[in-house]
């Protein structure tokens, strides 16, 4: 089944699938519908888990037990320091940083020297790591081929070389589509996230198969391992190696943010800062899951093959094969391929950007050839350089693999790379948090750290491979014992990695701090220090415009942009910039500091900040501000900002106060209008009975011959109208008191059943007169509430007299009910009158509004009874409302809360 061609086909098919994923991601990004979600971002960070994790961890566990875990605990702890990472992202976005070399160079005054140094260290440090990936891929192919007894050879080239070529093509296609390196490679990130999923599934599948399929679970594995003295050692930590443990945690914690590919993924490819919120736990969870079965796999391999049986670095493949699970072995192979390709692609893209911007560009800018070709569009050349750099880096990796392939175990090579990039830590952290750190300090620190790394770690590893004499390791340089490469100054008893880490960090930090404290930054450095350290506070608008002074011609700047970005892209960016400044086109803009800043930022995205600065300086006459003036401007900007913040706060307070005043005014006007309405309604209501009293009195006064029957009828009407007037006035007074809060309430325990019964009794004659049946089902001793007895009686009488008014005489029926539930007493007065429309149900509770047609019928009440009743009920915490439909009678309901029982 596992013929060489089948494996080749499978691998090619898988790479084709990755290709499709990346294409899809790019297409979506071009369409403006990014697929980079928080989860995709978190998974893409797992590019950290290379084939070193996939194959090498098991190998390391067979010799070092649990110590492989340090490589994953460090990143977990580092990632929790979200503030540091967000600061890096914020700075990189503000400064258009494209790589870690650019970051350091930009911070220390856009120095080409520093950018170049960082690039050289990164390339020298990381090439062995790329070789390691090629080695892992070659080893995994060999295992599969050995198993099937076949081999693949195309035109006499070995499979590793073919893999390297395919990877180079893939990286070139997706890493260098656009020139602007700050523009994200979303397709690449999507492919990397996809690979992360594949590799964790593959690894866990093998882990579960071995642990539960080949052995009887974790407990069984550990018990069988404990039976052998050799393996028993692996189950426990050796506290004698506590120093190594801590050193490796520090080292891997630094690597997770300073490895060029990690910086690329975490910082440059970040779409949205809030994605970190997911990554901060999802990525560590990923690391935890992929590590659970490492030790069981190592033990399983040792138990199955014996101590000398097979290469521990390939247990992930050989264990399933030993049981004939070829499909699972193929899945593991694809997982390992994923781990290796993801790392190689991202790493080469990150390194090629650095090599192009920070090594080749400065050299080109100084060369006479470029000066001669002034008019030419250079964007094509830049892309060409990057592609060549990718190919070159992979070629270097391949050469290293060929030469040193067998000399070292996988883990050894990875840690050498980690220690190299750890040298960036002092310059990076110092640059972000310490304004006094200077370029001279950074150069000195990097140089010192790099030299120590070279002498104590890289060269000894060469010596072990037999490339150079090993005298300086065994006897010390020039035979001086204290210069022994791996026991410097006699510091023995440490493993080589911790030894190198402590000495290189001492040299690096010592030189950085000492030289920084004894040197003065120049003007550019001072302003960049401010922009980096105070990135959350820096007032760009205020300071930027004043930090650049000079003369520039817009045509020259635009010419520069067109040369390096290509004409089409330059025009596109210029149009967007003009739009942001509300101008019709760039020709309408002055060539001021802002414009120069824009041009430099755009160039920085293409060729790095250091080269961009040199190029802009070549076409613009910048006035040298001098350190003192720059510091003054920066101080002033901070002060101005503080003042403007205070002003803003004051202004906000004022606005709030104005709003409150306006609202209060509105309320007063509304109340005033309501009062006017009320007075006009009241006077109108008072005038009606007065008019009728006056008319009848005049008739009685002027006509003495009126007969007695008429007289007594008129007098009866006058008395009735006067009574109505009195009632009206009483109710208006009542209402006014209640609304102004001056009504007198005498609250006590009231038996609501008694109130209802008494009210019914007192109105009984009224019902009898009109022939209306009044029925009620009232308990003998009703619920007791806290209220004013007279007021509740008033409400009840009002509701009953309303009911009797509106039901038809003779056939009318009024039903009263009393019940209590859910802490409320509910009283209902139900009649079989004409009912109310939905609109009337609301209107009748307004003052002076009555049921029925008030235009034609004689008013039957004052129009104040229900509003007053509602106020009374609401005063005691209850509600009064009506449920009714036209023709179906009306049901007036009010509730009063029962007193809360005391605990």
């Amino acid at each position: 089944m596992l013929s060489g061609w089948f494996i080749a086909l499978l691998a090619t098919g898988y790479l084709g699938l990755l290709f499709a994923v990346a294409r899809f991601g790019d297409a979506r990004a071009d369409a403006g519908k990014s697929i980079i979600s928080a989860n995709v971002y978190a998974l893409s960070l797992a590019v950290y888990c290379t084939s070193w994790t996939f194959y090498g961890s098991v190998g390391r566990a067979t010799s070092g037990g649990l110590s492989f875990l340090t490589i994953y605990i460090g990143p977990t702890l580092m990632l929790l320091c979200v503030g540091v990472i967000i600061k890096m992202i914020r700075i990189s976005k503000a400064q258009r940083i494209t790589s870690i070399a650019d970051f350091i160079a930009s911070r220390y005054g856009k120095s080409q020297l520093l950018a170049g140094m960082v690039t050289v260290i990164a390339v020298i440090g990381v090439v062995p790591y790329i070789a390691l990936q090629l080695k892992a891929m070659a080893a995994s192919v060999d295992v599969l081929l050995q198993h099937s007894g076949s081999s693949v050879e195309v035109w006499g080239l070995d499979s590793t070389f073919l893999i390297a070529v395919i990877l180079a093509l893939f990286s070139i296609l997706f890493g260098t589509r656009h020139l602007d390196a700050t523009e994200r490679h979303e397709g690449m990130v999507a492919a990397v996230a996809f690979e992360s999923v594949v590799k964790i599934i593959a690894f866990m599948a093998v882990g579960i198969f071995v642990t539960y399929g080949m052995f009887g679970g974790l407990g069984d594995l550990f018990q069988r391992a404990a039976a052998s003295a050799d393996m028993e050692r692996l189950l426990h930590l050796d506290s004698g190696r506590a120093g190594t443990w801590t050193a490796l945690i520090i080292l891997s914690g630094l690597a997770i943010i300073f490895l060029p590919r990690q910086f690329q993924i975490i910082v440059v490819e970040n779409v949205d800062e809030s994605h970190l919120k997911r990554a901060v736990w999802l990525f560590p969870l990923y690391l935890l899951l992929i590590n659970i079965f490492v030790l069981p796999l190592a033990l399983g391999g040792l138990l199955h093959f014996g101590a000398q049986g097979a290469n521990p670095d390939t247990f992930v493949l050989t264990l399933p094969l030993a049981r004939g699970a070829e499909a699972l072995a193929l899945l593991a192979f694809i997982g390992g391929l994923s781990a290796a390709t993801g790392m190689v692609i991202v790493e080469t893209i990150a390194l090629s950007t650095m090599v192009c911007n920070d090594l080749v560009m400065p050299w080109l800018l100084h060369s006479t050839w470029l000066q001669a070709e002034k008019r030419q569009d250079l964007s094509g050349l830049l892309i060409g350089i990057r592609r060549a750099a990718i190919a070159l880096i992979l070629l270097l990796g391949y050469i290293y693999f060929r030469l040193a392939g067998e000399a070292y175990a996988l883990v050894g090579i990875g840690l050498i790379s980690f220690t190299a990039v750890a040298q960036f830590a002092p310059a990076m952290f110092g640059g972000m948090y310490w304004k006094q750190g200077t370029r001279a300090g950074a150069v000195a620190g990097l140089l010192a750290g790099f030299v120590v790394w070279l002498y104590t770690l890289l060269l000894p590893s060469f010596a072990k491979s037999g490339w150079m004499p090993s005298g300086f390791v065994e006897h010390g340089l020039f035979g001086l014992g204290w210069l022994k490469a791996q026991a410097l100054f006699g510091l023995g008893g440490l493993d080589e990695i911790s030894h190198c880490l402590w000495w290189s960090m001492l040299a690096n930090m010592g030189a950085y701090v000492a030289v920084s404290l004894n040197s003065r930054p120049d003007a550019v450095e001072a302003s960049q220090a401010e922009r980096f350290v105070d990135v959350f506070r820096f007032d760009a608008r205020n300071a930027e415009a004043r930090l650049w002074r000079g003369k520039a011609s817009p045509d020259a700047l635009v010419g520069l942009l067109e040369r390096f970005l290509g004409a089409a892209r330059a025009r596109q960016q210029l149009a967007a910039y003009a739009l942001s400044r509300q101008a019709a086109g760039w020709r309408n803009l002055p060539a001021d500091a802002d414009f120069v800043q824009f041009a430099e930022a755009e160039l920085a995205g293409a060729i790095g900040s250091a080269s961009a600065r040199v190029m802009v300086a070549s076409v613009a006459q910048e006035e040298d501000l001098g350190l003192e003036e720059v510091l003054d401007i920066l101080d002033e900007a901070t002060q101005v900002r503080a003042h403007s913040r205070q002003l803003e706060a004051k202004q906000r307070e004022l606005e709030a106060a104005t709003n409150e005043l306006r609202e209060a005014n509105e309320r007063l006007r509304e109340l005033d209008r309501m009062k006017d309405d009320f007075i006009s309604t009241v006077t109108h209501e008072l005038r009606t009975p007065l008019t009728s009293i006056r008319a009848l009195s005049e008739m009685l006064h002027e006509d003495p011959r009126l007969d007695l029957a008429d007289r007594s009828r008129f007098l009866g009407i006058i008395v009735n109208e006067a009574e109505r007037l009195t009632r009206l006035i009483n109710q208006i007074l009542d209402m006014a008191k209640m609304e102004s809060g001056r009504a007198e309430w005498t609250t006590g325990a009231v038996d609501l059943g008694e109130v209802v019964r008494e009210s019914m009794a007192s109105l009984e004659h009224l019902f009898r007169e009109k022939g209306v049946a009044l029925a009620g089902d009232i308990p003998a001793s009703g619920p007791v509430v806290q209220a004013d007895r007279d007021r509740l009686t008033q409400v009840m009488i009002n509701l009953l007299s309303n009911a009797v008014k509106f039901v038809p005489g003779g056939a009318g029926r009024v039903q009263v009910g009393l019940s209590s539930a859910a802490g409320l007493v509910r009283v209902e007065v139900h009649d079989n009158g004409p009912g109310l429309t939905a609109e009337e149900c609301n209107v009748i509770f307004e003052k002076f509004r009555q049921g029925g047609n008030t235009m034609t019928d004689k008013p039957q009440g004052t129009g104040l009874g229900l509003p007053i009743s509602r106020q009374i009920v609401e005063y005691f915490g209850g509600n009064l409302w009506v449920e009714s439909e036209p023709g179906a009678g009306a049901n007036f309901i009010f509730t009063v809360p029962l007193p809360v029982p005391e605990e």
Binding site: H236, S274, W281, L288, L295
Partner: protein, 64 residues
């Protein structure tokens, strides 16, 4: 002056808590086996998983 972000501070505090828990000398405390599985193995993965769970809880409650 803007107040420092509380979530970032909580996460950083978790990191500071993790350092002593996952390094020596505390790491030499678990010994022997618990239920047939080496105590060190359980301790390392347990503390690690605990840190991740706390970080997830802190980070996902509100926005950064």
């Amino acid at each position: 002056m803007k107040r420092a972000n509380p979530i970032r501070q909580r996460l950083a505090a978790l990191s500071l808590l993790g350092v002593p828990l996952l390094t020596y000398p505390l790491l030499s405390l678990p010994s022997g086996t618990w239920g047939g599985i080496p105590a060190t193995y359980l301790y390392l993965f347990g503390v690690w998983a605990g840190l991740i769970a706390l970080a997830a809880w802190v980070a996902e409650r509100r926005g950064i």
